[in-house]
């Protein structure tokens, strides 16, 4: 595995995702410090371009956290978010890049373990697969 620490960026929706992250922090949960988050009003705001540009800017793993699909504050926001992530995932897979590097998560604002679980999982994926430059596991 590489020496450089993994870089992970997460796009969290302002409503349930941020609330669940705040609740997680307050209830003592901890997660990997190599995860950085950007807050967007809704996971539906995120498009493929934004996700791929995060990879361009050096991310080894990217994730999006949105509301539960049946209980989204903007009604269909997280459904859109998941579609964008799935699209980028299939593009990366087709290009031979591990599709685990990008993931969509859904969290309810009353759920303290969803965000830490997502963050840790993506940090672990980024550490296991190594930076993009290293060609990932295949090397």
């Amino acid at each position: 595995m590489s020496d450089r620490r993994p870089r992970v960026v997460g796009f969290c929706c302002e409503r349930h995702a941020s609330d669940s992250a705040t609740l997680a922090a307050r209830s003592g949960k901890e997660w990997d410090a190599s995860v950085r988050t950007v807050t967007v009003p809704c996971s539906g705001r995120v498009d493929g371009l934004m996700l791929l540009r995060a990879f361009e800017d050096g991310a080894d793993a990217v994730f999006v956290v949105g509301c539960l699909e049946k209980n989204c504050y903007y009604d269909t926001g997280s459904i859109e978010g998941r579609k964008r992530v799935e699209n980028v995932k299939s593009m990366l897979a087709d290009l031979g890049i591990e599709k685990e590097r990008i993931e969509m998560f859904n969290a309810a604002s009353t759920n303290p373990w969803a965000f830490p679980q997502a963050a840790n999982k993506m940090a672990e994926v980024a550490r296991r697969l190594g930076p993009l430059e290293s060609g990932g596991e295949s090397k």
Partner: protein, 525 residues
């Protein structure tokens, strides 16, 4: 030319567990261009000294600020009010949640926590630099009408409260019971359609055969319970089973329900067609206790998958047990079944003892009920999202108990789920007051964080028109898409979907979000 940035760092949030070196943060902030002043505040959230912090920013002609503290939602508005007086609009203040973002989750990893804190600060500063003042627009409300749908307990309470606050109220009642209503009362009327936006809604009302348009500023949905229909195998098997709601009415009316009473949590234990409602336990406990109080000798058994009595109803659970109410817990493997031969017998495998129990009953009541079917038409007409069970969806229970995601539309009473009269009346008053507060200003302000279309780039592909759940984008005059700002909730789904990159969401534009993530990824990890 963008003004300078003031950075306010809250010592309490950032430095308390001595995890993050405040001085280095200060240095990072100070060395960033455009930062005119860095203020360390003992505790930003108590708002003390907010005015001179704002004056300090104004003195250095700052027009934006970065507040490094905790979660924006539990923030004392004093500082924001001070900033507004100093000419810094709330949208120009960037909040960096250092406490829940770094301090708490990375308490045992201080070396990397410092790196993360500095990078997040740089990203917040970068975003602050890119913020643009967003002007809000206002529009006169054509009317001050508050329409209340449903003249039940909640509806009437809402009407009285709104009327007391000086609003012209219009009560729409499906039935034809007439009574002294504060404003106008339309009986045998139903809402069948709705256009417009908060403050200037146009409802289509079908009164008898006549269909008419009704302009109003706010709407209170109090369509009431009507929780009478039962769905699920157990309800089918036992015809005389009654909803808890009816049992509650009988008990409060002092009637004596027949024979041993069994209250089950749901007529559909497998949960295929009906989820166990979260109100089921509280309501069932209250009804059982009041029943046992007036008729101590009748035998009451409660059959539940799990007894989630939280908060005050914890006491109710204890009181019920003391009064001799029996509790039978089951799981899906031994779900209750009505004896096919004798419909007054219910068999269920008691998880505690593990053996099959046969309960004979005079009255069988179910606590979970499907939502009021009328909800669907009202939700469609007013385009309010609904919960999977078919009830109206409201904002979060703690902060917005009677509001819906759409401003100007409020919901109260049993339209959400069955409630006792007192609770319904209280919610009605709350909804009436909220509607009055919304309508009383007479003007609606909108804009700020809304989507914006660059007409030349729009290729009129209609993706946004089809994607937006609030129908804010519409086909404008030049066959290009325009955003009806009054309807836009600022979620940005259209910006995310637009194939020609013609739509951007103000305050969260592509560049702003990209720069923030680029700076975040640029810092050391």
């Amino acid at each position: 030319m963008t003004g300078t940035i003031q950075v306010v760092i809250c010592r309490c949030c950032v430095e308390k567990p001595a995890l993050i070196d405040l001085a280095r943060l200060e240095a990072v902030a100070a060395e960033t261009e455009l930062v005119s002043s860095v203020v360390i505040s003992e505790a930003v959230c108590d708002g003390k000294g907010a005015t001179d912090v704002a004056k300090d920013a104004q003195a250095k002609d700052g027009d934006r600020a970065v507040v490094v503290a905790c979660d924006k939602k539990d923030f004392d508005p004093a500082l924001l009010r001070a900033y507004r007086r100093a000419g810094i609009d709330e949208l120009m203040v960037e909040f960096l949640n250092m406490r829940e973002g770094v301090v708490l989750p990375h308490a045992r990893d201080n070396e990397r926590a410092q790196a993360k804190a500095e990078t997040m600060l740089r990203a917040a500063l970068k975003r602050a630099m890119m913020l643009k003042p967003l002007e809000m627009e206002t529009e006169e409300m054509r009317t001050r009408n508050v329409v209340i749908v449903g003249a039940g307990v909640a509806g009437r309470a809402a009407a009285e409260t709104a009327a007391r606050a000086g609003m012209h109220t219009i009560l729409i009642e499906k039935g034809d019971r007439s009574f002294k209503a504060p404003g106008v009362l339309m009986t045998r009327a139903k809402v069948v359609g709705g256009k417009g936006y908060p403050g200037n809604y146009v409802l289509t009302i079908k009164a008898g055969e006549k269909v008419e348009e009704l302009e109003c500023a706010a709407v209170v949905v109090a369509t009431g319970g009507g929780w009478t229909t039962l769905k699920g195998p157990l309800a089918k098997a036992c015809k005389e089973a009654i909803p808890l709601y009816r049992l509650h009415e009988q008990v409060t009316a002092g009637a004596v329900p027949k024979g041993p009473i069994v209250i089950a949590d749901t007529p559909d234990p497998s949960g295929k067609s009906l989820r166990v409602m979260d109100f089921a336990w509280e309501e069932a406990l209250e009804t059982a206790i009041s029943l046992k109080r007036t008729h101590p000798q009748t035998d009451v058994t409660m059959v539940f998958q799990e007894m989630r009595a939280f908060g005050l109803s914890e006491l109710a659970y204890k009181e019920a047990a003391d009064m001799g109410i029996r509790f039978v817990r089951y799981d899906k493997s031994g779900a209750p079944k009505i004896d096919s031969k004798d419909p007054t017998k219910l068999t269920v495998k008691d998880l505690a003892q593990g053996e099959l129990l046969t309960l004979s009953f005079g009255t069988l009541a179910f606590a979970s009920l499907p939502a009021n079917p009328d909800n669907k038409d009202i939700a469609d007409a007013l385009r309010i999202p609904m919960t999977p069970e078919g009830a109206m969806r409201r904002g979060s229970i703690q902060r917005w108990p009677v509001s819906t995601p759409r401003p100007g539309i409020y919901v109260c009473g049993s339209a959400l789920f069955p409630k006792t009269a007192e609770v319904a009346k209280a919610e009605g008053e709350a909804a009436g007051a909220m509607a009055a507060r919304f309508a009383i200003s007479g003007t609606i302000s909108f804009g700020g964080v809304v989507a914006e279309v660059t007409q030349e780039k729009c290729s009129a592909c209609l993706t946004c028109v089809r994607t937006c759940p609030f129908e804010a984008p519409f086909i404008g005059k030049a066959s290009k898409v325009e955003i009806r700002k009054q309807l836009c909730q600022g979620c940005g789904m259209c910006a995310g979907a637009c194939p020609s990159k013609a739509i951007d969401l103000l305050h969260f534009t592509d560049d702003q979000v990209r720069e923030q993530s680029r700076v975040l990824l640029g810092g050391d990890f």
